[in-house]
C-alpha cells in the first residue's frame, strides 16, 4: 500500500527529509531509509522525486484501517 519499497538506498536521507508526513526514517543499523509508517503516506511522491538514485517504488493503492470501536 502507498509507498512500497526502497531498493538501492544509499542513505542520503533526502526522502526522509522530504516526506511531509514522516513516513520514512533512517535505520540506525543499516544507515538506510526504511518505510516505518506507511499508513501515513499521502502518495505525493515527493520522496521518490527527491531520491537521487531512483530507489523508491510507490503504488497508488491505499487501504484504510478497519473500523473498530476504539483503538
Amino acid at each position: 500500500m502507498a509507498i512500497k519499497s526502497i531498493n538501492g538506498c544509499i542513505g542520503c536521507e533526502e526522502c526522509i527529509k522530504s516526506c511531509p508526513t514522516d513516513v520514512l526514517r533512517l535505520n540506525p543499523e543499516s544507515k538506510k531509509a526504511e518505510i516505518l509508517y506507511p499508513e501515513d503516506c499521502q502518495i505525493c511522491h515527493l520522496c521518490r522525486m527527491y531520491c537521487p538514485v531512483d530507489a523508491i517504488t510507490i503504488s497508488p493503492e491505499k487501504t484504510i484501517p478497519v473500523i473498530v470501536s476504539w483503538g
Partner: protein
C-alpha cells in the same frame, strides 16, 4: 573429445557467471522500471559477475590453458576485463539517467549527492572499488609502458584485484538495487572460490607445478 571438454568448461563458466545472475535477477522480487533502466541494471550486474569470472580465465586456470592455448585464455581475459570494467566505470552514471528525463533533481546534483554521501558504508566501499578498478584498468592497458617486471606486475594486478573484489562485492551487497539474500549468497560463493583460487597460486605457488 578434448574440444568438447573445454566447451563444456567454458559453458560452465558462462552458466555460473551469466546464467545464474540472470536467473536470480528474474527470480527476485524487484520492482520493475522501464526497459532502459532494467536493461542497464542487468548489464551492470553482468558486468560485475563477469569480472568475478576473471579469476577463472587466467593462466591460473591450467586446465583451460591446456585446452585452448594461453593466448586465447588471455584474449578472453582481456576482452572481458576491458569491456566490463568500462561498463562498471559507467554504472554510477547509469543511476542518474532518469534525472535527465524529469524536472526535479538535476543529474549533476544527484551525482554529487551520491558520491558525497560518506555516511554510507556502501558508497565509501564503492568509491574504493571504483578507484581500484580504475587503477587495474590503467595498469593493464599500459602494462608494457610502466616497465614493471612481470612478477611485480602480476602481484600488483592480483592484490589490486583482491582489493577490488572485496570492496566491490561488499558494496554490491550493501547498496545494490538488486541485492537480496540469494544474490548475496551467490556473490559470496563466487568471490570466495575465486579468491581461494587466486591465493592458492599466489601464496602456495611452489607447492604445485
Amino acid at each position: 573429445m578434448k574440444k568438447n571438454h573445454y566447451i563444456f568448461k567454458l559453458t560452465a563458466i558462462a552458466l555460473a557467471f551469466i546464467g545464474m545472475p540472470i536467473l536470480l535477477y528474474f527470480q527476485g522480487d524487484f520492482p520493475k522500471r522501464d526497459v532502459l533502466m532494467d536493461t542497464l541494471s542487468l548489464v551492470t550486474i553482468l558486468g560485475f559477475t563477469l569480472l568475478l569470472s576473471q579469476f577463472f580465465s587466467t593462466r591460473l586456470n591450467k586446465n583451460l590453458v591446456k585446452k585452448i592455448r594461453m593466448i586465447n585464455v588471455l584474449n578472453i581475459h582481456k576482452f572481458i576485463g576491458y569491456l566490463f570494467i568500462s561498463i562498471l566505470l559507467l554504472h554510477p552514471f547509469f543511476i542518474i539517467i532518469p534525472k535527465f528525463f524529469d524536472n526535479g533533481v538535476t543529474p549533476s546534483d544527484a551525482f554529487i549527492k551520491i558520491i558525497t554521501t560518506f555516511s554510507s558504508t556502501g558508497v565509501i566501499l564503492g568509491l574504493i572499488a571504483y578507484t581500484a578498478m580504475l587503477v587495474l584498468l590503467i595498469t593493464s592497458f599500459f602494462r608494457f609502458k610502466i616497465h614493471l617486471k612481470y612478477k611485480t606486475w602480476r602481484n600488483l594486478h592480483g592484490y589490486l584485484t583482491l582489493l577490488f573484489v572485496i570492496t566491490a562485492t561488499w558494496h554490491v551487497i550493501n547498496i545494490g538495487r538488486h541485492s537480496n539474500i540469494s544474490f548475496s549468497i551467490y556473490y559470496l560463493l563466487m568471490v570466495t572460490s575465486g579468491i581461494y583460487y587466486l591465493l592458492k597460486t599466489y601464496l602456495f605457488k611452489t607447492s604445485k607445478k
